[in-house]
């Protein structure tokens, strides 16, 4: 399987995050983290190809669209890609909960790095609450997003590898 399907799905998600959903100011961190989570999921799935440089490019696109500092979401996508690539895949462990736990750790790491980078960027402590809310929501949404990613890839996977997910 080449990288077309994963990249296209993440690209659509990037464009969707830019749409004016009307979310409150405190919830603006959730949607970009969903995109980062998709990168993580695609990298963790067995038999998929999602090079790190493509994750960086999609992150850059998110930076450009959001108007934020160039390289910020690219860095977050890269962290997720690295973590996803090193995670024991579902094929090895057949355990979604373990992957969920890994994502929880990655989400916390991303939240901390975001806050530190943001504070460094503006030379003042930025509000932690929206970032923490986004990280928490992304952890809760992980099974949904993983299921979505598996659903996108369905047909090319052996169902027995995903107990209860396909």
């Amino acid at each position: 399987m080449n990288a077309t399907l994963p990249v296209l799905s993440v690209l659509v998600a990037v464009l969707a995050t830019a749409a004016p959903w009307g979310l409150p100011a405190e919830a603006t961190f959730i949607l970009p983290l969903v995109v980062v989570m998709m990168v993580f999921c695609w990298r963790a799935l067995p038999g998929t190809v999602f090079p790190a440089y493509l994750a960086l490019l999609l992150g850059l696109l998110m930076d450009i669209v959001s108007g934020g500092p160039l390289g910020f979401w690219a860095l977050m996508a890269l962290i997720a890609a690295s973590a996803g690539g090193r995670t024991p895949s579902l094929a090895d462990s057949q355990d979604v909960n373990r992957l969920w736990l890994v994502w929880a750790g990655v989400a916390v790491l991303i939240a901390v790095i975001s806050w530190l980078l943001g504070s460094l960027y503006f030379l003042r402590f930025i509000d932690l609450w929206p970032i923490a809310l986004g990280a928490g929501a992304s952890i809760l949404l992980f099974p949904v997003v993983l299921r979505g990613v598996v659903w996108i890839k369905r047909g090319k996977l052996r169902p027995k590898l995903y107990r209860g997910w396909t």
Partner: protein, 337 residues
């Protein structure tokens, strides 16, 4: 030096058994470089971003259209659910507005009479153009929105952006067909304002939250929750008298709740207010012949003559800012009093 590495001997070369590691390191380094360039506001980064946003504008617009339609459908469904209560509320509000209308007409007559006695100069007209929000900014750093108006429509950096409720923000980037609007609640937003009937001067600062902080209030200033907040125009960028919001909070921690719902913007208007400060802050526009033009159609006006000091053309159509539209429209509005 026995037993250890001699500084004069070449160290054993580390072999990159996994080229992916090297690539990963390069990518992380690239992110760091981009962040630094972005922080210092490198021109190449800014130009590349503007060009790319222009390129992706059709995609963003296509993505935002169904979202906006869905949002409107949901809000309509909510409003239907409380239709009877809403009718009662609107009836009561209509009664109040009728009362205010008579008072406003009386005040208008008095003002006209007093202005004629004083030979006062008429307030300048503000040209504006209206477009739709096609993208929201998401992240811990920025509160901004992309609007489908650009330099081709005469938009420049620093113009005030309003909707039907009040001030929304100001333009910070202007591409050929897309403009980025820095919202009032952004961390970098600072708006000089007048508070209440006394016109107390202060600074409304964004902190990425839903409300703005009210800074630099004079000691003992007469400010109370519920006071209206307007732009003062003292920054030389925004026109004076635009509605911003109302004061909330308590003394020592006053905040401003914007009238405009900044999290659910749909249609906004850009005011062509060419203050002298803009000529110093805005880089040369793409279309030189449109520089400082009061409206896209009026391109023959010299740069020194700004629209804000000219009366509106007699045949110009007067439109209400914030009117529903999906494509950019242009018009002229009387400057707020």
């Amino acid at each position: 030096m026995r037993g250890g590495h001699s500084p004069f001997k070449p160290r054993p070369r580390r072999s990159w058994r996994a080229p992916g590691e090297l690539l990963n390191f390069t990518l992380y380094f690239l992110c760091a470089v981009l962040l630094v360039l972005s922080r210092i506001g490198h021109g190449a980064v800014t130009d590349a971003r503007e060009s790319f946003v222009d390129l992706t504008a059709p995609l963003l617009e296509a993505a935002s259209t169904p979202v906006i339609m869905g949002r409107n459908a949901v809000s309509r469904a909510w409003s239907y659910s409380g239709l009877f209560g809403e009718i009662d509320r609107l009836k009561a509000e209509n009664e109040q507005l009728k009362h205010w209308e008579s008072r406003a007409k009386l005040a208008e007559r008095n003002i006209t009479h007093l202005r004629s006695l004083l030979n006062a100069v008429d307030e300048p007209a503000l040209h504006f153009t209206t477009g739709s929000v096609i993208a929201d900014a998401r992240g811990p750093f920025l509160r901004s929105a992309l609007v489908n108006l650009g330099r081709d429509q005469g938009v420049r950096i620093g113009y005030a952006v309003i909707n039907g409720d009040g001030l929304v923000g100001r333009t910070v980037d202007a591409g050929a067909s897309v403009t980025r609007v820095l919202l009032l609640n952004d961390l970098n937003s600072r708006i000089p304002v007048l508070v209440g009937h006394a016109g107390v001067r202060a600074l409304a600062s964004g902190d990425n939250g839903a409300e703005l902080k009210l800074d630099f209030l004079p000691d003992g200033a007469s400010v109370h929750p519920g006071n209206e907040v307007f732009t003062s125009g003292s920054d030389g960028v925004l026109p004076r008298g635009l509605r911003v919001g109302v004061v909330t909070g308590s003394p020592g921690a006053f905040r401003v709740r914007p009238h405009a719902d900044l999290s659910a913007l749909d249609v906004v208007s850009v005011l062509f207010f060419d203050a002298p400060a803009l000529t110093r802050t805005d880089p040369p526009p793409i279309a030189v012949d449109r520089a400082l033009s009061p409206s896209p159609d009026d391109t023959k006006v010299p740069a020194a003559v700004t629209s804000s000091v000219e009366p509106p053309p007699m045949d110009a159509e007067i439109k209400q800012a914030g009117a529903s539209a999906t494509t950019p429209v242009e018009g002229v509005a009387q400057a707020p009093q």
